[in-house]
Point group: C2
Chain length 308, copies 2
Amino acid sequence: MIRFSVTILGSSSATPTSERNPTSQLVNHRDKLFMIDCGEGTQVTLRKMKIHFQRINHIFISHLHGDHFYGLIGLISSMHLLGRDHELHVYGPPELEEVINLQLRVSQTTLVYPLIFHATRCEKPERIFENNYLEIISFPLNHRIPTTGFLFREKQGLRKVNKEKALEIKIPAWAYERIRKGENYTDEDGTTYKNTELTFNPPAPRSYAYCSDTAYYEPAIQTIENADLLYHEATFMNDREVNATDKFHSTAAQAAKIALNARVKRLIIGHFSARYDELTPLLNEAKAVFEESYLAEEGMTFSIPQLT
Amino acid sequence: MIRFSVTILGSSSATPTSERNPTSQLVNHRDKLFMIDCGEGTQVTLRKMKIHFQRINHIFISHLHGDHFYGLIGLISSMHLLGRDHELHVYGPPELEEVINLQLRVSQTTLVYPLIFHATRCEKPERIFENNYLEIISFPLNHRIPTTGFLFREKQGLRKVNKEKALEIKIPAWAYERIRKGENYTDEDGTTYKNTELTFNPPAPRSYAYCSDTAYYEPAIQTIENADLLYHEATFMNDREVNATDKFHSTAAQAAKIALNARVKRLIIGHFSARYDELTPLLNEAKAVFEESYLAEEGMTFSIPQLT
């Protein structure tokens, strides 16, 4: 199976605890590593998990509250000190570039590798990255300061040629590419074969949606709907809904309601308030609304299965 | 005994390892807590060591390489989020204020407590703090960017009145203060008692000197000489002396040579390069020059005994 997974590096909100790190996640798609958010201490977590961080080429920062980016400058610096030689792309609110540059300037550091900054905006969903297999969309959330979520969405793959049939009717090499794209095939004798006779469906494109800090926000649903996996913050439980609304955060039940209404397959909740030592009650609250709910816990990896 | 101790929170150089944190120390003087340097992750180390960080009122940053200050903004933020209500004083190079302010601005944070910034300079030794019992001196070191060390020096205490003698000659209450300051005492009959008959010597003032990142630098000796305890960086071993000199760092033997020439009582070495898994060779190298050498290890506390 082609890999598409999400590893939790940190699951805590605002203040780190001795058990839980501030927010960070690693998305692995076809062995390319993408980091989402980078709270303080993330580089040490990567080391402890034996993840070679020079493999990370793209880092996405959802917003500029410290628990989502105070680890970024340390990671950028360590990549420098360890002699990185290839591009690092950082995506985030425009002021983030200023923060990075100031800290490099005061330490009189000129990075030994190219750091390419991409400013995100949060008026509407926008594609901010693509390669042959994947595109990444930023989309607005509803928090105290400008904040985006990120949708990782596979591109529709080419159709799979039925090799037995291809041998049987002796399809020439030159025709494969067109057939994979969905065209019919006409042989030298003028016989036309419908594409559906010649190919199988490719695997369904998979998607992962990341909803960082946000109040309950239904407009996000149109972007994240049908995602195979959704991460949604759940800072509080429902008995603190007023508290959550005040601080533009969500409760576990609200996260689950978004998952339900967006018809996603699975939900991960995280960004837990330091007040919760025990997380099972948050999980139960989410499960009561949306059964396929899971807790974000440090070190855990969620794989997204490939379905045909 | 009146407390004066140094606790190591981090002992690593440049890049943190999974075993060692970047530089930070906590000085406890008469139960007042002073932090020196604050590498990434320091707030979590404080939590793990169950040190209530709102008790820290003064933070001293030696220079603006990330491994010495990337944890500061996170600590400042957590103090805010946890409702600190009293002043925090931060001492460091002038640009540090800019870095703090920018990060507060982009997160739209107005601190709920007063943060008072004191810019350090590194032309010459300067007193940057004093209370009734202690003064703190910044002094220049020799690193790639402006860097200061810090000397924590107790003030000379008042003399101790010999209570038996005081009762015997019936010293009135009003005279005690003057006698403690060293004056002689003349009673109503005109008999004069020399101060040395009436008092004991106070404890000798103690001192702790912190030499953050620096090349071997003899001019520091005049400030730190006779310190009871000296911390001196020892990034490398002597076989990498060229490397150390290039990077304006010191070797373990050089740190020990400074300790020896400054006639300090004990030396702590730290800021070890991530290349050293095993630190005993660095300790042995220092001990060969200066026997009273110790390794800075996370969680270790060095108390400075009070001698009369």
